[in-house]
Amino acid sequence: MSYTQLKRVDLIFDTEATTKDILQTAWSKTNEQIVNELLESGLKGRGGAGFPTAMKWKFTSEQPEKERFVICNADEGEPGTFKDREILFKVPQKVFGGMAVCAKVIGATQGFVYLRGEYRFLLKELQKQLDDFHGILKDLGINFSISIVMGSGAYICGEESALFESMEGKRGEPRNKPPYPTIAGFRSKPTVINNVETLVYAFMITKHGAKKFKDLGTADSRGSKVFSISGDTPKAGIYELELGMTVEQFVEEFGDGDTKAVQVGGASGFCVPRKKFKDTIIGFEGVPTGGSMMLFNSSRSMYNVLHNYLEFFEEESCGQCTPCRVGCQQLMKGIEAVKKGKKHAAYLEQLMKLSQTMKITAKCGLGQSVANSFSSIVENFKEEMIY
C-alpha cells in the first residue's frame, strides 16, 4: 500500500485484437507512417543495446541493395533473462506479426527466428503457430515467410554479428563493426535484427499508435518493458512494468526485506548496492537492462556471485580477441588469488584497470561489458572480495 506501487502494464501479453486485425491496420498505413509512429513512440531495442527501433528500420529500408532480411533474435542467454521464452510461448503470433510489419517497411520477403538450442522444446508448437501465421499472410495477400533456425548452446550467438555467422554455418565469432547489420548483416545483406520483445512492441505500436506507449515511462526510457525477476525474492517471475522506477521502488515491491544488492541487466549489467537503491533509475538514463533483475539478500557472498559471472564469461567468450579471452581468465584468477591471500588487496585496483582495458579494447559487447559487473561489485563490496 505504499506510494511507490509500480505500474503494471499489459501490452505484450494482451490478446484482445487478432493478429489478422493488427496486420490489416498495418497494411492500411504507409511505411512512412509506420516509421514515424515508431519514432514518435520512442521505442528502443529491448535486447540490451537500446538502439531506436524506428531508425534501424529506416536505415535498412534506405539501402541500395534490394535483398533484405528481418531476423528475430531469440537467443536469450543473458543470465537472469527468461522473458523471451514466455513471449514466444504465449504470444508467438505477435512476434511474427512484428516481423511482418518490419518486412513491409524494409521491403523484405524472408525472415528468420534464431531460437536458442536450450528452447528446442518450444519448436514444435512454434512451428505450428508459424504455419497458422503463414495462412493469415496468404489470406491477406502478403508475400513474406519466416523460417526458424536453431542455435546450439552458445551465448555469444546472441550478439548480432555472431548470430549471422552462426546462421551462415560458421563458428559464432562476432564480426568487426562497422559495417552494421543495417548495411551488411545476414549474407552481407541489409538486415534488421530485433529482440523478441522489441518486435511485439513495434507490432502493438502499429495497432495503438504512438501515444499509448509514449505516455508511459520517462523521456529517455519510453514505454514499458518485460522484466525477468529472480534470485532472493518471494515473487520471482515475469512482469511487464512501466519504465522509470528507481531500484528502491523495485526492491520495495520485489525484495524479501533483506535485499543487499540488485543485479540489473544480467551478468553483463551493473550491480547496484543498497546504498544506491534510492538514486538509481532502471532505464537508459540510469542502469539499462534487457530485463534481467536478480536480487541478492544479505546471506549471499558477492565474491561467489562475481566468481560465477566470471566463470560464465570465461566459458562463453568466443576466444577470438586477446583482451577478452585472456582478460576473463586473469580476472577470475586474480580475485581467487586475493581471496586466498596470495595477492595483496591492492591487486584489486590492477584488476579493475584490466577490466577497463577490456572495455576499450575487446571486439564485441561480451568482452566490453565484463567491466560493468566487475567494477560495480569490486567497488561496492571490497571487503567481501578480500576476507
Binding site: G77, A154, G169, R171, S230
Partner: protein, 154 residues
C-alpha cells in the same frame, strides 16, 4: 560405418549442400547419434565439399554439438548464478549418486551423460536442468530421483 554415411547423406539431402546447412546437419547427427564422431565429420565435409577442419572448427564451437561419445540421455544442469543460489550443487550430488558417475561422465551402458551448462532461461524456477530437449525446473533431490527413475524405465 555405412550407417553414418547414409545418415549424413539423408541429412544433406534434407537440408541442402551449402555451408548454411552445416549446423542443421550437425544437429541432425546429434539427434540420431548423441555425438558427432570423426567419421561423421569427414563424411559431412565430403558431402558439403568443404574441409574437415571447417566442420570440426564449427562443431567444436557449440556446446550442444558434442564431439565426444555421449549417452542416450544427456543431462545438463544449469550452474549459473540463480540456480547456484537455489541449490544446484545438491542436484548434481543427487544425480552423481543415482547414476554412479561424476560430472562430465557417461554411464557404462551409454544411457546417461551428466554435464553442467550455463543459464537455461528458467532462473525464476531454479534449479533447472535439461534432459535432451526437455526442461525440468524447481528441482529437489526427491524430484530428481523420480525423474531419473522414469528415464531408467524407458
Amino acid at each position: 560405418m555405412p550407417e553414418i554415411k547414409d545418415l549424413v547423406k539423408g541429412l544433406a539431402e534434407a537440408h541442402g549442400r551449402t555451408r548454411e546447412s552445416l549446423i542443421p546437419i550437425l544437429q541432425g547427427v546429434i539427434a540420431h547419434e548423441n555425438y558427432i564422431s570423426d567419421e561423421a565429420m569427414t563424411e559431412i565435409a565430403r558431402e558439403l565439399d568443404i574441409s574437415a577442419a571447417q566442420v570440426y572448427g564449427t562443431a567444436t564451437f557449440y556446446s550442444f554439438l558434442d564431439t565426444q561419445p555421449r549417452g542416450k540421455y544427456v543431462i545438463r544442469v544449469c550452474k549459473t548464478i540463480t540456480c547456484a543460489m537455489k541449490g544446484k550443487s545438491l542436484i548434481i550430488q543427487e544425480l552423481e549418486d543415482l547414476l554412479k558417475i561424476k560430472l562430465g561422465e557417461t554411464t557404462p551402458n551409454r544411457k546417461f551423460s551428466l554435464l553442467e551448462t550455463n543459464c537455461l532461461g528458467w532462473c525464476h524456477k531454479g534449479p533447472a536442468m535439461l534432459i535432451n530437449d526437455e526442461a525440468y525446473t524447481e528441482l529437489t533431490p526427491e524430484k530428481v530421483r523420480e525423474i531419473i527413475n522414469e528415464y531408467i524405465r524407458k
